[in-house]
């Protein structure tokens, strides 16, 4: 049991009371969420470790970027527009990937490592704030690396919007995007906790497939028709497009680029609302099933 168990106990004593998903006293819920975020911060934010900073904020995001730029350059010399396209998609996707991992890792950490899940988090209602907290903190940390990626992008020739970024648009798009991604993250956590030990890698794999579909590094139009439709249904697609418009000042080439910005915001809002309503329910169902089947205290490596 590493350092976190006392914090967890403290946390549940506060949260287990009433934080039913979508129910209960809002102030209470907010308090739980803050406590969970603090816990998540303690677990995730190894801020004192230079190695951690180096790996997560710099090496990994830039390696990703390098990987795509390298593949991109196979098809001919890089032009500023395509660099800008990839850099922004890549930067936003730092946040998507991280937020998707947060809740799953929170659940698996407890299940496989600390084995506290069955003692402490006996109810979905106490697991939920923890998972949301972990997702949020991960997303915020990733946002720093997103900024770094954008910075490096600017250095290597990414074209910026004339007159600087469209900050109001950026703020709205980021808020909506973050909300939806945290929702998807907790739903994914409840699925992954039912799976094997290497479920550690699954959120990343899911993120990878979302990556494929949401036009992060190549225009949606490249995809086969059916996949384009799925891509269009993902809020991340609209989120990334919104950020592109805010930062680069130009819409993407292809289908997505033809939509007006207000329409884009509308679609993103509707998607986010739907996810925010559905995710906690999915989470509860998933955790309940896992508990019923005894998955919360098993460990399944081979």
């Amino acid at each position: 049991m590493e350092s976190c168990s006392p914090v967890q106990i403290d946390l549940t004593s506060r949260t287990s009371r009433a934080f039913g998903p979508l129910r209960g006293d809002a102030a209470d819920a907010a308090r739980s969420l803050i406590a969970s975020a603090r816990l998540a911060w303690a677990i995730e934010g190894n801020w004192a470790e230079p190695f951690f900073l180096l790996v997560y904020l710099i090496i990994r995001p830039l390696a990703f970027l390098g990987l795509f730029l390298a593949v991109l350059s196979i098809g001919g010399t890089l032009n500023p527009a395509s660099i800008g396209f990839v850099v922004v998609g890549q930067a936003v996707f730092q946040i998507v990937g991280a937020a998707m991992q947060g809740p799953t890792h929170a659940l698996l950490d407890d299940r496989e490592r600390y084995r506290t899940i069955r003692y402490i988090f006996a109810t979905p209602s106490s697991l939920l704030p923890v998972s949301i907290g972990r997702a949020l903190v991960k997303a915020l940390i990733a946002a720093i690396s997103a900024v770094i990626v954008i910075g490096v992008g600017a250095l290597i020739g990414m074209p910026m919007r004339a007159g600087g970024p469209d900050l109001p648009l950026l703020l709205v798009v980021m808020t909506l995007g973050l909300t939806s991604i945290v929702g998807l993250g907790i739903a994914l956590g409840a699925v992954c906790v039912q799976l094997r030990n290497d479920a550690w890698g699954y959120p990343q794999a899911v993120a990878g497939s979302v990556f494929l579909l949401c036009g992060a590094i190549f225009p949606l139009d490249t995809l086969p028709r059916a996949l384009q439709l799925i891509g269009a249904a993902l809020p991340m697609t609209w989120w990334i497009e919104g950020v592109r418009r805010a930062l680069l000042g130009t819409a993407s080439p292809g289908l997505l680029g033809e939509l007006s910005t207000p329409l884009l915001l509308l679609v993103l809002t509707v998607g986010t609302v739907l996810i925010t309503l559905a995710a906690p329910r999915l989470f509860t169902i998933g955790i309940d099933r896992a508990r019923e089947k005894g998955y919360l205290d098993r460990s399944t490596a081979s």
Binding site: L67, G75, L195, Y202, A205, I217, S302
Partner: protein, 293 residues
């Protein structure tokens, strides 16, 4: 009462029991390797979800590179290369998650205690882990190559199948040997190991020249080919299976094969020493090998 019925020559008999002949030791080592490989070969596929996660997701990753290439109108030969790289990546991923990270898991689950106190060497355990992992992944990699090639109509032209087989074999062997060294490193590095695992993933895909040739990395490419088994393996495989892209190779295939062979030997020796090290260090400090309880 305790002495009742205890034979006089008990100690001598027990001593004789501890005397294992060379053939006994060899048989035991072989059995141990198979014993440890078993759960990986047979257990791993028991959860139906493996299909979904071990096949569908690597395929999706592969697809993003393929679509990226297509969006830029790159030569279709690169798509064949991408499919091969994805297959190689399955092995590398399993080296990270199922080799490097494994000893920590074995320690935390209490298995390490049982391995140390059993008359089995950590070397046999590690070899079993590697063999089981590689066999399990070979199956998945095969499906990825087959599925990917059908999906994208990829073509290969294999002029020297033996050389290609040797490259894959040596590449995989060198990767898993490195995996054992990493297992020891991860065990010693405690919580930092999580970051190490992530460091080994995408950054190594770039450095290893999986999806874009190491050649394009300049001096880093040369460096990578000297230390990272992924690099010579991917580079040689591309040259051997997709001859149109031979010009993208950094070094001639025989040289890269030689590098892989040397890597295999060096990493095997290193893993031998690192296993001895963790056992020694674990017994000395009392933390490395046993679950903290």
């Amino acid at each position: 009462m305790s002495a009742a019925g205890v034979p006089k020559d008990l100690h001598a008999r027990i001593y004789a029991e501890t005397e294992w002949s060379l053939s006994h030791k060899l048989r035991h080592a072989a059995q141990s390797v198979v014993g440890r490989a078993y759960p990986r070969i047979f257990g791993m596929s028991r959860e139906p979800s493996w299909l979904f996660f071990d096949l569908v997701f690597p395929t999706l990753g592969m697809c993003s590179f393929v679509f990226l290439l297509r969006s830029r109108g790159a030569d279709e030969a690169w798509i064949s290369a991408t499919i091969l790289a994805s297959a190689l990546l399955t092995f590398w991923t399993s080296v990270i998650w199922m080799m490097a990270g494994q000893f920590r898991w074995e320690r935390d689950s209490g298995n390490m205690t049982l391995y140390i106190t059993a008359p089995v060497g950590l070397g046999s355990i590690a070899l079993g882990m590697a063999v089981g992992g590689a066999v399990g992944m070979a199956f998945r990699a095969g499906i990825i190559i087959l599925g990917g090639s059908l999906l994208f109509g990829a073509q290969y032209e294999i002029r020297e199948p033996l050389l290609l087989a040797l490259t894959m074999l040596l590449g995989i062997a060198a990767m898993y040997a490195l995996g054992v060294c990493l297992a020891a490193v991860f065990l010693v590095s405690g919580r930092e190991a999580d970051h190490l695992g992530d460091l080994l993933n995408e950054p190594m895909q770039l450095l290893g020249g999986l999806f874009a040739p190491v050649r394009s990395l300049g001096i880093f490419g040369l460096l990578a080919i000297g230390i990272l088994p992924l690099a010579p393996a991917a580079d040689a495989m591309r040259q051997l299976a997709v001859p149109q892209l031979a010009a993208s190779g950094l070094l001639p295939v025989p040289v890269e094969l030689g590098i892989l062979a040397v890597m295999f030997v060096v990493f095997s020796l290193l893993s031998h020493f690192s296993l001895a090290f963790i056992e020694r260090r674990g017994r000395a400090d009392g933390k490395l090998l046993t679950r903290a309880d």
